[in-house]
């Protein structure tokens, strides 16, 4: 078996992918990306869901039929009805209003953490990949250190020490999230660095900082954008999970994870209290994942090649 695979190296492994260096992905025009996205109906569905939740995060709080934190103990634990579409919780808050208001917690959480992670990752990864040598070695070992840190436990420690709140939880998630981007960016920079146009720029005496900023980084962005889109969903899940165990948003804040935790006691009898916030998380994260998958297929020439060859096989 071993000799077999030596003779037929598959391009799916890192070793041989790096064997063909300096072949930058063509930069994609927005309209091209849109064409690629449109080919897959599911990614359009994902986009629609993402836009829906983005809108909800922006204007949702003005649309709620009730004040999401207004308690009315006389109307507690009511099943879904025309007055309360999703019923009411144990304090008489309108679950529908709370689910809508929750978008303003979860969606921005995702964006804040991913933005922080991408910025730190770009900084560390590009410097490490571009400088190489000892700088690379030291930066990547530091990255490994953060990567080996158990993220949920770190988040719990920070939340426990600084007091549980959503911003603290987000800070903790960001601390453990950037190493993945640093490694991704470093790999891309190593690949793009060997391109001929970078060599040409260097020969023309362009400063390294300018080469990195103008010629290298823009060509590294496609996989970063894809990873970031997919990560938005994961971060929303993690933040909701932290709020669920009490290390994130605190009741009575209408955050989905915290709402599910508050409804746990009524699991058997008043299931609507946790059903709707859970469905909201699921739908929202699914939207980001569908959109991210579609974006990856649209931006990644490798998957386009796959599609092409399967098309020709079908023909």
């Amino acid at each position: 078996m071993s000799r077999q695979s030596t003779r037929h190296p598959s391009p799916s492994t890192g070793a041989s992918r790096k064997g063909t260096p300096g072949k930058p992905r063509p930069r994609q025009q927005p309209s091209r990306v849109w064409q690629g996205l449109k080919r897959n109906p599911l990614s359009v569905v994902g986009l629609v869901v993402v836009v829906f939740f983005l809108l909800l995060a922006v204007v949702g709080p003005y649309l709620t039929p009730y004040d999401p934190t207004a308690q009315d103990l006389r109307a507690a634990l009511q099943p879904p009805s025309r007055a309360h579409f999703f019923g009411t919780d144990s304090l008489g808050c309108d679950v529908f209003s709370r689910v809508i208001a929750g978008a303003r917690y979860s969606v921005p959480s995702g964006f804040v953490v991913v933005a922080a992670a991408v910025i730190i990752g770009l900084l560390i990864g590009s410097v490490a990949g571009f400088a190489g040598g000892w700088t690379d070695e030291i930066l990547m070992r530091v990255t490994d250190l953060f990567l080996a840190f158990p993220s949920l436990i770190l988040a719990m420690a920070i939340a426990g020490a600084l007091g549980p709140s959503l911003p603290n939880a987000l800070a903790a998630i960001a601390v453990t999230w950037w190493p993945a981007y640093a490694r991704l960016v470093r790999g891309e920079v190593l690949r793009v660095k060997q391109a001929q146009y970078v060599e040409a720029a260097r020969a023309l005496g362009v400063t390294p900082a300018r080469i990195l900023w103008v010629h290298v980084l823009p060509n590294c962005m496609a996989p970063v954008v894809v990873a970031a889109t997919l990560d938005l969903g994961s971060v929303i899940l993690t933040a909701a999970g932290l709020s669920f165990i009490g290390f994130g948003a605190q009741p009575p804040e209408p955050e989905w994870g915290a709402m599910i935790n508050a409804g746990r006691a009524y699991l058997g009898s008043q299931a609507w209290i946790i059903a709707f916030p859970g469905l909201a998380v699921l739908t929202c994260v699914m939207g980001f994942n569908l959109f991210g998958d579609g974006l990856r297929d649209a931006l990644d020439p490798r998957s386009v090649r796959n599609q092409g060859s399967s098309a020709s096989k079908n023909a």
Partner: protein, 357 residues
């Protein structure tokens, strides 16, 4: 592995292997020192005061000061750090502020539960995810593929704590076919403690009642914990299989008239699985550390729940112990993955490893 064609080649290959292993071990030591330093700094620069939290209302300033000096928290930081490292070198992880027991003992008590749960979850996802990924790739764009992809999409998008609650509400609340939580029913006598893994212990004691009960309790938590990994694996296997099935050597094998099972299992799967091994390793690492939510809901006495409790009471010696344990596990799993690559992929033995790192 099969015999290599020439003897000198073999020794060159294994010299390479030795160098890679040495480098990896060196890096692991560096990582451990780094992580201990980070946990130490983290636990000492934060504003929270564990002693005040521990004493609660009884915490008069004098009492707090007495307690702090008793725990050594009033000494200068470098001194505390030095003694922390010294103790660590002797495997003394300190005393938990909350349980007042040695942290190492606590970890030894709680860890087997986590190990048992995450191993079951991993086995479940291997058994489901790999066949699903293969079938999905072979039936590309057919109903089976769409169903499998939908299932995987659910797995990567599902809030695990919500899935756990839904499972509880249905399987315990409504149908009463699964237990509410814990590792054993109240009336089941636990098997004599050997490994701490109830399935193994009950088998060793030939105690089938306990074995069945432990397995029964493992079902729901393993499903919850394993769903994400199953989904990730199915997606990875599908993508890799599609990639490999397009290769010339597969067309060659088919052209030679080899039967489809031989082509798929012998030629395609072997090559497709290489990158998947990394995913399995990473997943196992995160299963071991990421069981916090599942353990909380199913009252599973593992290190995840231990960490939650420790975090609430600002029990930093315990948290540092958990962090260290998970970091070590993570390192060990990663090391195993890398070694496995050396065994499985001769290209890496040949020295391409430098680039892989």
């Amino acid at each position: 592995m099969a015999a290599m064609p020439k003897a000198p080649r073999v020794s060159a290959q294994w010299r390479n292997v030795g160098r890679i292993v040495a480098r990896r071990l060196g890096l692991s030591v560096f990582l451990l020192i780094g992580i201990t330093t980070m946990t130490f700094v983290l636990s000492h620069v934060v504003p929270g005061d564990p002693v005040a939290t521990m004493l609660g209302d009884r915490g008069t300033p004098r009492e707090i000061a007495r307690m702090r000096s008793q725990l050594g928290l009033d000494r200068p930081l470098p001194l505390q750090y030095a003694s922390y490292l010294w103790n660590l070198a002797h495997l003394r992880l300190g005393t938990s502020i909350r349980t007042r027991r040695p942290v190492l003992k606590d970890l030894a008590d709680y860890f087997p539960a986590t190990l048992e749960l995450s191993t079951c979850a991993l086995l479940l996802s291997l058994a489901l995810g790999i066949p699903l990924g293969i079938a999905s790739a072979l039936r590309r764009d057919r109903p089976l593929d769409h169903a499998a992809r939908l299932f995987s999409l659910g797995g990567v998008s599902m809030p695990v704590f919500w899935l756990a609650l839904v499972l509880l509400a249905l399987c315990y609340g409504r149908w009463d076919i699964l237990p509410a939580g814990g590792r054993l029913s109240d009336f089941t006598l636990p098997p004599p403690h050997v490994t701490g893994l109830l399935l193994v212990d009950s088998l060793l004691a030939n105690d089938w009642v306990a074995f069945r009960d432990a397995a029964w309790h493992l079902i729901a938590p393993s499903i919850c914990l394993g769903y994400l990994t199953t989904a990730t694996l199915a997606r990875q296997v599908r993508a890799q299989m599609l990639e490999v099935l397009n290769q010339d050597y597969i067309r060659m094998a088919r052209g030679l008239g080899l039967s489809e099972p031989v082509v798929i299992l012998k030629y395609a799967l072997k090559n497709a699985m290489l990158p998947v091994i990394t995913v399995i390793g990473l997943s196992y690492g995160s299963l071991l550390s990421g069981a916090v939510l599942t353990e909380t809901i199913f009252s599973w006495p593992g290190i995840g729940r231990y960490a939650v409790g420790s975090s609430i009471s600002l029990d930093f010696p315990a948290l540092m112990g958990v962090t260290l344990l998970i970091a070590v596990l993570y390192g060990v799993v990663n090391l195993c993955v890398d070694l496995l690559y050396l065994v499985l992929d001769p290209r890496i033995r040949d020295g391409a490893a430098r680039e892989i790192e």
